[in-house]
Amino acid sequence: MDAAAIISILDATLRLSTPLLLACLAGLYSERAGVFDIGLEGKMLAAAFGAGAVAAVTGSAWLGLLAGIGVSVATALLQGAAAISLKGNQLIAGVAINMLAAGLCTFLGQQWFHQGGRTPALGPNGRFSTIDLPFAHELSGIPILGPIYAELISGHYILVYVAFIMVPVTAYVLYRTRFGLRLRAVGENPKAVDTAGISVNKLRYQAVIITGLLCGLAGAYFSIAQGSGFGNNMTAGKGFIALAALIFAKWKPLPAMFTCLLFGFLDAAQIRLQGARVFDIEVPVQAIQALPYVLTVVLLAGFIGKAVGPKAGGVPYTKER
């Protein structure tokens, strides 16, 4: 494999990791606050649809992005209301969101656009285009570093950069701010937070809103950056892989990034490997496509060790006995 091929795979890795990373960080906020979120997939899908639909109608990627975020935050609040205020089972609330999103997006898509649930293909203004970083062209001549900067780092959608900037931002928020301190505490021992005079539910809602926001970015990435328009089930289980990555990363931002990069790399390699031959037999495309998912299971089952999540995760907070 030559250098160009390696750079190309790594470049694809970045692109494919981005929605995973956004969703993974989204889940991190919610789960660190003690609200298990199995509904990342549904929120992403709803955001992808919202973004695709609005971008198609208005012709503006930015309005599409805003719509995606809006839809996702609204969905997150619905899920939050069930899981926090109404003290419902958090897993069921998440599953419900996933089912609702899957059904409703296709239904509304068909009603509005009559293209079998898809949204119309977007024109150049309807979707984000890639950004060339400053001096990318000029520096590309420098050996090794040049191509890495020009080909690998430069030339991505803005959401890719946002996703990776969110990693240090999340780490800073989590470990250096009052909000982060309280967020971590409420996921570990909400009673301690309550007795300290801080509202447990308010904190959890704030976390859930951030989750919605990041899921909105991830969903919009599918339909108006990577793709051009919403397609049925276009998130394809990435929300669950993000959840797996979150557990694998033990709910920490930096490990979350590396885990998402690993999963993204598997995905990129999978595309590259299609059509590969083993002992002169062509490996079925489905088997190769399944690789990232199989590896997800293997990693989670075998290599993770003991993953202890936030202690109060999954339990609605009830004050009175």
Partner: protein, 531 residues
């Protein structure tokens, strides 16, 4: 139960009569709080003088913790008024209580285990959105507080890495850091070693010297006498009396707590042992790790006698109990009931033991004796639900089950007498009575009892002991396992001492001294003798 309890004398509320020179820190009037069917606080009046240490005593479930949670704003009272430093306040939440200078150290610490001491102190009292400055300020402030009150603790240590005593110091520091002038401690010594408790008392005295007010909830009379200036006694949700500690004594407080004269010794006649009911022969039991915990034990229990097994906890008593009652497989030997060997192997061993007439009051009522999320009546038929009196076939006769439960509640004086209440909401003593009622009600030939009064309040202890003796007098064979030597000595007719999985000696409770038994429990014994 014996005859009607003698009325307790009502004392004038001496301590409440005159305000101290420094005034009242806390005045509660007519506080009421109800949880479902349970009236946790009923018309409570309480006054606490500023700069004093005020004890609040009462049995489990008397409503002490609820009252303090109301003062701290964790619960809201249904009615009543609260005055802090003479000003009427409606304390709506903990933040408000903190602002009024009221800090609380809860019985179960409100700490985040994987946070550092410093982070725990700062949580909720941060100066700004970024915690760096708060942590720095807290570090120097803690340093000062630690020197002032001799509360040394490493600010950078994680909570999960420090001792329980130190965790409690963190809780106290948390309150002081927030400027608490009134400090409430809920059962502060329950989790402490005696040495740690002494340290705590030293700290509390220093706090008093500095003009702070301390309210301490406890049910240990020794502590009340040792450290408080005044003491308020609660019973069944009501405030019974407030006394100056110097003008009362432990006996009087105990009486007020229980509501009648406390029998310190159990009165029982001599045993009249009959034939062998339960025989254990060469029993060997291994624990879950495969370690042999019961090493070939043999003994027997006759009708009409109580055999007590004494020993330091962890010497195989639990495994012995579980094997005899069919909860754990035996790895050798026999359990013989009424001359017939019991087959206890398999998952339904316990059920078969019950069918054969062996009732079991397990050591840990919450884990093994009850399903705490179930209502009282459901618990009252646990293990007996397939009996014909509860309906034929698969359909349960709920009316019959409820009637039976109501009858048991009445006979065993379970409070509150509510068969539909979740058992988790009963106090420890009443939970134990529910288990006891269920097991004794079937008129078993043999009763096996583990730790009958662990975590049970004084009044219930007396009742439970009397019930056990009544069973004996009715000609039943009773095997009693307890780590409370006093309990064994006052109840048992014969004492077997267990050490390291073996019975190392037998003693007559009438003649054996505590010292002799203690030596046996420590494994110091001349020659091994078994029955």
């Amino acid at each position: 139960m014996s005859d009607t309890p003698p009325p307790i004398k009502q004392r004038p509320e001496t301590a409440a009569a005159s305000a101290p020179a420094s005034g009242w820190a806390i005045e509660l009037e007519q506080i009421n709080k109800r949880f479902g069917a349970v009236q946790a606080n009923k018309d409570i009046d309480l006054k606490v003088g500023r700069g004093t240490i005020h004890g609040i005593v009462g049995e489990n479930g008397a409503g002490k913790s609820t009252l303090m949670s109301i003062l701290y704003g964790f619960y809201t009272a249904d009615s009543g008024t609260i005055r802090v430093n003479g000003t009427r306040q409606a304390i709506t939440d903990s933040r408000h209580a903190l602002a009024l200078g009221i800090g609380m150290v809860h019985q179960h610490f409100m700490l985040v285990d994987n946070f550092s001491v410093l982070e725990n102190v700062v949580l909720g009292a941060e100066d700004s959105g970024f915690i760096r400055t708060s942590l720095d300020r807290a570090r120097s402030e803690l340093d000062r507080l630690e020197r002032e009150y001799e509360l040394e603790v490493d600010p950078d240590a994680l909570i999960e890495e420090i001792s329980v005593g130190q965790q409690q110091r963190v809780e106290i520091l948390k309150a002081l850091y927030r400027g608490a002038e009134i400090l409430i401690l809920d059962e502060p010594t329950g989790v402490l070693t005696p040495k740690e408790a002494d340290d705590l008392f030293r700290v509390l005295r220093t706090l008093r010297e500095q003009g702070k007010t301390v309210i301490m909830i406890t049910h240990k009379l020794r502590e009340i006498m040792a450290i408080t200036d005044a003491v308020s006694v609660m019973r069944q949700g009501e405030m019974v009396a407030t006394l100056k500690t110097a003008e009362t004594n432990a006996g009087e407080i105990a009486e007020l707590m229980v509501g009648r004269h406390v029998l310190l010794d159990v009165s029982k006649g001599p045993a009249t042992p009959g034939e062998k009911r339960l025989e254990v022969k060469d029993l060997v039991v291994k624990d879950d790790m495969g370690i042999t915990r019961v090493k070939s034990i043999s003994f027997s229990v006759r009708a009409g006698e109580i055999v007590g097994i004494a020993g330091v906890s962890g010497n195989g008593q639990s495994e012995l109990l579980e094997a005899v009652t069919g909860m754990r497989d035996q790895h050798g030997g026999q359990v013989i009931l009424n001359g017939q060997a019991l087959s206890l192997k398999g998952d339904d061993g316990a059920a078969r033991a019950r069918m054969a007439g062996l009732a079991h009051v397990p050591e840990d009522r919450q884990r093994m004796g009850l399903v705490t999320d179930f209502s009282e009546w459901e618990n009252a038929i646990l293990g007996y639900s397939t009996r014909p009196e509860y309906g034929a076939g698969p359909i349960l006769d709920i009316a019959a089950a409820k009637a039976k439960a109501a009858e048991q509640i009445e006979r065993f004086d379970v409070r509150p007498a509510d068969i539909n209440l979740k058992t988790a909401l009963f106090s420890g003593g009443n939970q134990q009575k529910i288990v006891l009622a269920r097991e004794m009600d079937r008129d078993p030939e043999v009763l096996v009892v583990g730790q009958p009064t662990r975590g049970v309040d004084i009044g219930a202890i007396e009742f439970i002991h009397n019930q056990i003796i009544k069973m004996r007098d009715a000609g039943k064979a009773i095997l009693l396992v307890s780590v409370e030597l006093d309990e064994i000595r006052s109840l048992a007719d014969r004492i077997l001492v267990m050490f390291d999985g073996q019975i190392v000696g037998e003693a007559d409770p009438a003649t054996a001294t505590e010292g002799q038994l203690g030596l046996m429990m420590a494994g110091v014994v001349e020659e091994r003798s078994t029955t």
